[in-house]
Symmetry: C2
Subunit: 497 residues, 2 copies
C-alpha cells in the first residue's frame, strides 16, 4: 500500500502495561481489550485496504468514563482514535500502533424522543436506521440515510457529516444535528447547540460536525426529526446519452423542484445492478435516473408530471412511474445493491467520493472514460446526481501487481478533476487517511493553516486521531504548497480593558 | 449607561494621523472619513443607547482593499470594527474610540444568479430585501427575512446569523448560506464553502456565520435561493389564555406541520398594533397567533384545516382565514408594525431577544408578569412562537432617573430565566456588547475558554471587534465563573511523523 503510516513512539509502546492499567482503573471489567487477537477486529474500517491494530481498545459506557480516559491520555501524552461502527470509507477510524482505540459501541440508548420540538436525543452508538425505527410509530423519521445505515452509528455520521440519497432535499448530517454533548481532550464535558436553531456566542457545532474525530469525542447527539411524507413515488428515466441525463438533472433543479432523491447510474452500473437484483431497469440506455418525489399526494403527482416533461425534453427514451409501493422499493433495490453488484464485475473495486457542480456531470463522465482507457481499469458510475456527488467505482484486482496503485492514482486523478471543475474532494465519506495528501489540491497554504489553528484550539497536543485529514508535513513540504508552521503562536488572555 | 467601555489606547490615539495616511494609501479619495462631525453617523447601530464615534472610518470597494486594510492594522496593532448597515440590535457594530470603523457599504453588487444550482452570489452590502428583488422575476426568493430587511445587509445577516418570521420553516441565515469569501486579520483571502452542501476538511463556515465580526471580514456571500411557493395563506387565531395559545403552538409542530411562520402577540401588543394599523385583530383575547401555511394550494388548504382544528382543541375563541392576498398582508402588517406601535405606549422601549423550548412559553409569560410588577415597568410581548424566540418589549422612560437601569435589569432577568428554562441568550440579535456579561449565565468556564481559543485561532491579537460577545475579564473574575486564561498555549506544528 502507498499509505505512509507514522513510526510508532517507542516510549509510548514501552508504557503499554501502565496505560492498560490506567484505562482499567477508569473502565472496569471487560471494557479494556488488550489481547492481540481480540484487537484484530479493530484493525481496519470500511476502507479495508489499510490495516493496523491498536495498542489497546477501551469501550467506555458513560460520558464520565470518556472524560476520564481523555483527561488521562492528555496528561500522559497518549494518542486516541475514536470509533463508531467502523464503517468509514476513508480510513477515518484506522487505529494507531501506539494509540488507544476509543470505541463508542456501548453508547446504544435512545435518550429522548420529543415530537413537540421535533427532536430526538441519542447516544452516539445508536445506528442510523435505529433512529428512524425508534420514532416511526409516531409518524416521524430521520432523513440522512447513508447506504450503510443498518450498521453505521449516528456518532460516526456526525464525525463524517454523512449523506445519503435523501440528502438532496433534506440536507446532510450537519443540517440535521441541533446539538451535541462533547468531551474535549482535556476531559471537559460541554453542551454545544441544543433543541433550537440558534445559540449565543461562537457556533462551534458546525466545525464539530464533520471534524472526523480530530476535535473531541461526541457522547450525545440531538437530531431534528421529520414527519413522514403522505406519499412517495419514484420515476425511472432512461437516456441514450449521459449528457441528456446530466442536463435533465440540472433542469429539474432549475425548475424549482427538489426531489427527495435523484440518482444516476451509467451503463456498467445499470447492467451489474439488473443482473444482481432484477429491478426492472432498461438495458439499452447509457444512463438511468431514479427520481423520487415525496410530499402530499397532490403535489407528488403534479411534480412527477413536470419531471417527466423535462426528461422528455432532454431526450429520455424510457420513462416509468412506480405504480405501487412495491415497485418503488424495487427501483431503489437496484440502486442500493449497486456496490455489491459491481463487486461481481471484478475481484476488487475502489469507491471514490467527490462532488462537482451538477451542470459539470457530462464533462466529468467524459474525463472518466479517458482516464479509464489510460489506466486500463474499468469504472462503473453511481451518483447522487441531484447534489453532484459522484461515486465512481474503479475496478481492479489486488492480486495483479501494480493494479491497486493504478486504482489509487486513477481515483486521485478523478478527485483532482472534480476540484478543477469547481467541486470538492469529498461529498460524504470524509478525508480520513485516504484523501489527506490531496488536501493541497483544494486548499491554499493559508486555508490549511487556518484549519490547523482551529484544530489546535481544541487539541493543542494533536492527540486526537492524528494522521487523518491533514496532509503529513514532509509530504506537504515536498508539494511546496503547505506552510510549515514552526513558530509558536500564543493564545492571548481574554480581553482585559 | 451601565456599559463599561474600554479605556482608549493613548499610543494608538497619538498615531491617528499616521493611521489615516496609511488607510488613504489603500483607499484613495473619499473612502477614508476622519472629520469628527462626519464620523458621528457611525456612533451607534440599532441599539442607540450606546454611542461612541470611531477614530476613523474607511469604506473600501474591493476585496483587495479590505485585505490590505486588515493586513496593515494587524501589523500595526490597530483594532477594527466591521459594519454593514448598522442595524444590529445588540451593539455589534458599536465603534471604538481607538479603532477603525470598516464599512462594507460599497459592496453593493449582486455578482451572480444561478437558478440551476439554486444559489445567488452577493457582495455583503446588498440589503436582505434586494436579494429577493434580484431573483423574484425568476420565481425565486431568499427565505430569512429580518424585520429590518429593507435596510439590513446580507453581510450583517451573516455576522449576526439573522432570523425572521420565515425562519421557522426555512432556517436562520446559517441554514441558507453555502459559502463566503473571507478575509483574515492577516489579510489572507479565503473561500470557505461554495455552491454545494459539503466541503472537505474542517467546516469553518458554521463558526464564521454568527461570529459577530470577531473572526474576519466577509467580502462575498453565496446563499441558497428557494422557489416561491404556489400559495400562501394566513390564519388568525385568538385565545382567552396565553397557555392555550402556547399549547396550540407546541401541538401544531408535534403534528408534523411546519408553518411558514407562527407568530404570537400578547394583549398589550395586540391592542397597540390594532390601534396603529387597523389589521382587524380581535381585541377581547389574551393572545393572538398568526399562522401562515405555504406550498401547493391543495397542501395549504388541508394544513390550514388541521391547524384550525388543533387551535379549537386548545380553546381558541377566534379564528379567521385570510380570504385574499390583501387580507393575508393585512394580518402581517399588524405584526410587522408591532415595534413602532408599542413605541407609542411609552417614551422608550428595550427589545429583548431570548429563546426557550416552545412548551415553556406559558411559564415564561407568567414570570414576565411577575417581573413587570416587581420592576414597575410594562412589557409587551411579540414572539416568533414557532421556534420559541421571544421579543419582549420593556417599556420605560429614559428621562426618568433609574428607569433605564431598571429596564436593563428586567431584560437580564428575562434572559436568565430563558436559560433556566433550557433556552439561550439570543435568538437572532447576537450577543454584541448588550449581552456579553450574561454569557457566563449560559456557558461554563470551559465553554467560554473553548470559544476564546477558536477566536484566537483566527485573530491572535484580538484586534477584530474587541469588547463584543466575550465577557470582560475583570467582570468575569468578579463573577468567579470564567477562568483567567493567563498561560501561553502554543500551536504545535503540523503533524510530523
Amino acid at each position: 500500500m502507498s499509505l505512509e503510516m507514522p513510526e510508532p513512539d517507542a516510549g509510548v509502546l514501552a508504557r503499554r502495561e501502565e496505560i492498560i492499567l490506567a484505562l482499567r482503573a477508569i473502565v472496569p471489567g471487560e471494557g479494556v481489550i488488550d489481547d492481540p487477537s481480540a484487537l484484530l477486529v479493530y484493525e481496519s474500517d470500511g476502507l479495508t485496504a489499510y490495516r493496523q491494530p491498536p495498542m489497546v481498545a477501551v469501550l467506555p459506557e458513560t460520558t464520565a468514563q470518556v472524560a476520564a480516559i481523555l483527561r488521562w491520555c492528555h496528561l500522559n501524552g497518549v494518542k486516541l482514535v475514536p470509533r463508531g461502527s467502523g464503517t468509514s470509507l476513508s480510513g477515518g477510524a484506522l487505529p494507531l500502533a501506539d494509540g488507544v482505540l476509543l470505541g463508542l459501541g456501548k453508547f446504544k440508548r435512545v435518550l429522548d424522543i420529543d415530537p413537540a420540538n421535533r427532536v430526538a436525543v441519542l447516544q452516539p452508538g445508536v445506528t442510523n436506521l435505529a433512529v428512524t425505527q425508534a420514532i416511526e410509530h409516531l409518524g416521524f423519521y430521520y432523513a440522512p440515510d447513508p447506504s450503510s445505515q443498518i450498521a453505521c452509528s449516528i456518532g460516526g455520521n456526525v464525525a463524517e457529516n454523512s449523506g445519503g440519497v435523501h440528502c438532496l432535499k433534506y440536507g446532510l448530517t450537519t443540517n440535521n444535528v441541533l446539538g451535541v454533548e462533547f468531551v474535549t481532550i482535556e476531559g471537559e464535558i460541554m453542551r454545544i447547540g441544543g433543541r433550537g436553531l440558534d445559540a449565543a456566542g461562537l457556533d462551534l457545532l458546525g466545525v464539530i460536525v464533520g471534524s472526523e474525530g480530530l476535535l473531541g469525542v461526541v457522547t450525545e447527539v440531538t437530531v431534528r426529526i421529520l414527519p413522514k411524507p403522505e406519499a412517495a413515488r419514484a420515476l425511472l428515466l432512461g437516456f441514450a446519452t449521459v449528457e441528456g441525463a446530466g442536463r435533465c438533472v440540472a433542469e429539474v433543479i432549475a425548475a424549482g423542484i427538489i426531489p427527495a432523491g435523484m440518482e444516476m447510474m451509467d451503463r456498467l452500473a445499470i447492467h451489474a445492478a439488473e443482473a444482481f437484483v432484477h429491478a426492472g431497469y432498461p438495458l439499452d440506455v447509457e444512463a438511468l435516473l431514479i427520481v423520487e418525489l415525496d410530499g402530499p399526494e397532490a403535489e407528488c403527482s403534479e411534480l412527477i408530471g413536470e419531471v417527466e416533461a423535462i426528461a422528455t425534453g432532454n431526450g429520455a427514451v424510457y420513462a416509468r412511474i412506480s405504480q405501487s409501493e412495491q415497485e418503488r422499493l424495487n427501483f431503489w433495490a437496484g440502486r442500493k445493491a449497486a456496490f455489491p453488484a459491481v463487486g461481481r464485475l471484478a475481484p476488487d473495486f475502489y469507491c471514490m467520493d467527490g462532488t462537482i457542480p451538477r451542470r459539470r456531470l457530462p464533462d466529468v463522465l467524459t474525463r472518466m472514460k479517458m482516464l479509464s482507457a489510460q489506466y486500463g481499469l474499468g469504472v462503473a458510475n453511481v451518483f447522487h446526481a441531484g447534489d453532484g456527488n459522484l461515486h465512481p467505482l474503479i475496478l481492479y484486482d489486488v492480486n495483479k501487481p501494480g493494479d491497486l496503485d493504478k486504482a489509487e492514482e486513477f481515483g486521485a486523478d478523478i478527485l483532482r478533476f472534480c476540484v478543477e471543475m469547481g467541486g470538492v474532494l469529498t461529498g460524504e465519506h470524509g478525508v480520513g487517511v485516504e484523501k489527506r495528501e490531496l488536501m493541497p489540491v483544494m486548499f491554499t497554504e493559508a486555508d490549511i493553516a487556518q484549519q490547523w489553528h482551529v484544530k489546535c484550539a481544541f487539541d493543542s497536543k494533536s492527540l486526537l486521531n492524528p494522521g487523518k485529514m491533514f496532509p503529513l508535513l514532509h509530504r506537504c513540504a515536498e508539494l511546496g504548497r503547505v506552510h510549515v508552521h514552526g513558530g509558536q503562536m500564543a493564545f492571548p488572555e481574554l480581553p482585559r480593558f
